[in-house]
Symmetry: C2
């Protein structure tokens, strides 16, 4: 049993052990730290997190509720495997959910907020140029999140993050096998549409961004990645 290492994460003062375990495990999955098919144990993670089974088990149960992990009938806990068909489903769900969320956020975005989103986009490009893959991924998610969250009554964000989590493990593999990031994104187009408050154009740009970005790997490349993940 090799010792388990999780990506570091700051623990704010006053945060409960459970909340910290959940946040840290969630981030680990989100950035692809676990490979598909990996099995984890409650005790093992409790040790890695320097706590006890109880709060860890609660965190794991939550993660299964949002599709990030699977409890098998055996009571084994595994990182879900992804088939090409499942991958395609996830991407199409992203497109539907996020173009919808983007459209409904447009009316609530102030110029100030758009400026901040532009700054995030610049951070993404800087991270890509520096080869900081995980940082680029996080910043890219933040770009999308800042748009969708502008809608104060927004409901979709947790669902979208659930899809992101389910894509996490495959992203991890993709990052391993892609030497340099040449991310094609439509962020500029989305920003221009936001500035014009053009809801249709925003929805279209976000949809295209997803389709041509992570979802844009051709089927052959995906199949190869997924076979490596087996």
């Amino acid at each position: 049993m090799k010792a388990l290492v999780l990506p570091a994460l700051e623990r704010p003062e006053g945060m409960t052990t459970h909340d910290y375990a959940f946040a840290r495990l969630r981030q680990a999955i989100m950035v692809g730290a676990f490979r598909p098919g990996t099995s984890v144990t409650i005790r093992g993670l409790a040790e890695a997190l320097e706590s006890s089974p109880t709060p860890v088990r609660e965190a794991l149960r939550q993660l299964t509720s949002i599709g990030a992990l699977h409890f098998l009938e055996n009571r084994r806990i595994v990182v879900p495997r992804i088939t090409p068909a499942r991958f395609e489903e996830l991407i199409s769900l992203r497109i539907v959910l996020e173009s919808h969320a983007a459209r409904r956020a447009v009316a609530h975005l102030s110029d100030r907020q758009i400026d901040r989103i532009v700054a995030i986009d610049e951070a993404i490009e800087a991270a890509i140029l520096a080869g900081r893959k995980a940082a680029a991924l996080i910043a890219n998610q933040d770009f999308h999140r800042q748009i969708y969250m502008a809608n104060p009554d927004q409901i979709a964000m947790p669902l979208i993050e659930s899809v992101w989590l389910q894509l996490g493990p495959i992203l991890g593999i993709a990052m391993e096998h892609v030497a340099e990031l040449y991310v094609v994104d439509r962020h500029r187009e989305a920003i221009d549409a936001l500035r014009r408050r053009d809801e249709d154009a925003v929805a279209e740009a976000i949809g295209a961004d997803i389709r041509e970005g992570i979802g844009g790997f051709d089927q052959q490349a995906i199949a190869k990645l997924l076979s490596l993940a087996g």
Copy 2:
């Protein structure tokens, strides 16, 4: 502290205490057994379920992950309140998610499966005529679920159920204040479209079903319901 009663639910042999607690609480929320704003306690539910805090807390944590409950900063656990704006967001999300899920299920539905869906639709009408509101609600959900689940690689169902759960408490209130159910549904139209394997028509019918069904209460009626829920 009045004793808490939960809708009954059969417990399959071999089901863990945690799974049972989750299933029962989930169903209770889904059929509107809890009013918005209600606060629950771990110990109280453990007593009602004749178990201990540990498995109940795990179930509650899962339910918060899918938006069915809220852990406040106070550490109090409450059934979320719903504003008119939130309600509208939920309905629009249902439309987007479910018409998408329905469209992608069409190609996988066999004639046999469609026959079963027709049978469910008849069960819905029977329940409505008999005034069995909760049964009608459950059957209606089953109608939708059977369609979406026909897609074997389907990912959206858990997200859709999350939205259903968030609508549960308002449905409970609606059921209390509507003497007789006169549910307008587009199920026949959806079934006809399924038989023709017409994806666009199926998506359209499902969208209309949601829009004109639960979502079809006019804004004034919703506002009244929501004020009662406060």
